[in-house]
């Protein structure tokens, strides 16, 4: 597998996860510090399904997403209830993320492999399917944002009290956003497992959660293509500047600092990058509907 192909697959996986977090953080305004645990749940679920039961790869991804979404209910119900602030949710996810990681290292050692991880997975994640899934994730997220759910998410983020007075069940809407985001992360986790063909609980640590959150904050709130582009950049940049050795970490930090200072709401806040898509759809239309005249 080529080096570029590898990076592209990583970018696609990250886009799938970031789409979920864009819904939770960008639209609903909830910050999660432990979303890696949903990747972890998804990765282990789909890895076990394909390894032990020989389930189809794509079905196992969906199952991973479903397990992650179910897991998110456990954290969502106690923390999103009533008038508890978003800070409480953030701190709870931080703890939950660590708890899941440590749990996976300690339970069912002969199934999950404990701290040494689960190895010997098949390499199912190829570039073609990853791109398709990433595009699908973006489209689904766009549908969420354009639908009533997305509008209500923005309303809750603006004024939770006012929307509650209009009859919006804030708890339900927040839980819905959390479950969708966990689902996306679970799918991303499943893809990751079948790309690395080897998973250990430790890769689903704080660093991963923070990287995902950074992409959304950097890419901009209430935007999908913004965070997707940002995660592409953040995944590719350290690779591109590999010759700079450890200096690239400083450059990474500096870039973040500058963007935070200049555009605190993110690069593409409330905006979508639509130009390539309109161009693409126009191209497809002309290709499909233009009568091909043969001489």
């Amino acid at each position: 597998m080529g080096y570029l192909e590898g990076i592209s697959i990583s970018i696609c996986i990250n886009i799938v996860c970031v789409c979920g977090i864009a819904i939770l953080t960008g639209y609903m305004g909830l910050f999660s510090m432990g979303h890696a645990c949903f990747l972890c749940l998804g990765a282990y679920t789909s890895a076990c399904l394909t390894k032990y039961l020989g389930v189809n790869y794509f079905l196992s991804l969906l199952a991973g997403g479903a397990v992650a979404a179910t897991g998110s209910v456990v954290i969502g119900i106690p923390t999103l209830r009533g008038k508890i602030s978003g800070d409480c949710f953030t701190i709870a996810t931080l703890g939950f993320g660590e708890a899941v990681r440590i749990l996976m290292a300690n339970i069912g050692v002969n199934i999950f492999g404990g701290a040494t991880g689960l190895s010997g997975l098949e390499h199912f994640t190829d570039l073609k399917s990853s791109v398709v899934i990433a595009v699908l994730a973006i489209l689904l997220t766009r549908n969420y944002a354009k639908s009533q759910h997305g509008k209500i998410a923005l309303a809750i983020r603006d004024y939770a009290d006012a929307s509650e007075l209009l009859g919006v069940n804030i708890f339900r809407e927040k839980l819905k956003a959390l479950m969708i985001s966990a689902f996306f992360c679970g799918v991303g986790g499943g893809m990751m497992a079948h790309y690395y063909v080897y998973i250990v609980p430790n890769i689903f640590g704080n660093t991963m959660s923070n990287n995902l959150l950074t992409s959304v904050v950097l890419g901009g709130v209430a935007s999908i293509t913004g965070p997707a582009t940002a995660t592409g950049m953040l995944t590719a940049m350290p690779e591109a500047f590999r010759f700079l050795d450890n200096w690239r970490l400083s450059i990474y930090g500096l870039t973040l600092l500058i963007i935070m200072r200049v555009r605190p709401e993110g690069l593409f806040a409330y905006k979508e990058i639509t130009a390539p898509f309109t161009a693409l759809s126009r191209w497809i239309k002309t290709k499909l509907f233009k009568p091909t005249v043969k001489a």
Binding site: Q148, K151, I152, L154, A155, R157, D158, Y159, D161, A162, S163, E164, L165, L166, G167, V168, N169, I170, A222, Y270
Partner: protein
């Protein structure tokens, strides 16, 4: 007068921590009435509305709406038909005018009903129709107030409560707004409670009024009578 009241509040007491904001208030509002609550700053007027709307919990007393006790959570109040237009309007600044209105119709299930209500709101406030695609945050103060009222109308409330609707608006707009309130009241039969600092305006608009001071009702009655009451004139209307 056998008709039971739409809203009945009995011996209500509300605390903020250790501080009592409302000291035993009772009121009854019949269907289709337009009632004003006037009083000075800090009299507890907004607290009263927030309590009725379910945004603030109360410690003693009872509130019944259409003869039934109120539900437990604030979002269920809107389904019952109680809607509060909060102080400071609270427009969703990142949504368009149209989307703001749609959020107001959250409790309405039927698509045709939403369309019908939207027509009603646009009919009443043609300005909102002109600004349909604009972001809520880019509207002027008066337009935002219109949007806040329109948004509340989308839920089709039986009881609409307006908290300081004249706050920060130009006098011309205030008169226009209060005319619209009268129109909503007469056309759709929506019962209204208006809390106002501007006592003259509130008394001119409403049929009945309560005068509130330090968490209690000190006077109540027909608003025309209250306007001519010397005590009210001196304390709230600025006559000497």
């Amino acid at each position: 007068m056998a008709e039971s009241p739409l809203l009945a509040v009995k011996d209500l007491e509300v605390f903020y921590g250790g501080i009592q904001a409302i000291h035993g208030i009772s009121l009854e509002i019949k269907k289709g009435e337009m009632v004003a609550v006037i009083g000075a700053n800090g009299a507890g007027k907004s607290t009263l509305l927030n309590t009725i709307a379910g945004d603030k919990s109360y410690q003693k007393g009872s509130i019944t709406f259409e003869g039934e006790p109120l539900p437990g959570r604030a979002y269920q109040f809107a389904e019952k038909g109680i809607c509060l237009v909060p102080e400071g309007r609270r427009i969703f600044v990142n949504l368009t005018v149209y989307d703001n209105l749609l959020v107001g119709a959250y409790t309405v299930r039927k698509k045709e009903k939403i369309k019908e209500r939207l027509e009603e709101v646009y009919d009443l406030f043609p300005r909102l129709k002109e600004r349909e695609k604009q972001m809520g945050g880019t509207l002027s103060g008066g337009e935002q107030q219109m949007l806040a009222v329109g948004r509340a109308m989308m839920a089709g409330p039986k009881l609409m409560m307006l908290d300081e609707p004249s706050m920060g608006l130009a006098p011309v707009i205030i008169d226009e707004m209060f005319d619209k309130f009268k129109k909503i009241n007469s056309k759709y039969g929506t019962t209204m409670i208006i809390v106002e600092q501007n006592a003259q305006l509130a008394l001119d608009t409403a049929n009945r009024a309560y005068v509130m001071s330090v968490g209690k009702f000190i006077m109540e009655g027909d608003s025309q009578e209250l306007i001519h009451d010397p005590k009210v004139q001196e304390a709230y209307l600025g006559f000497k």
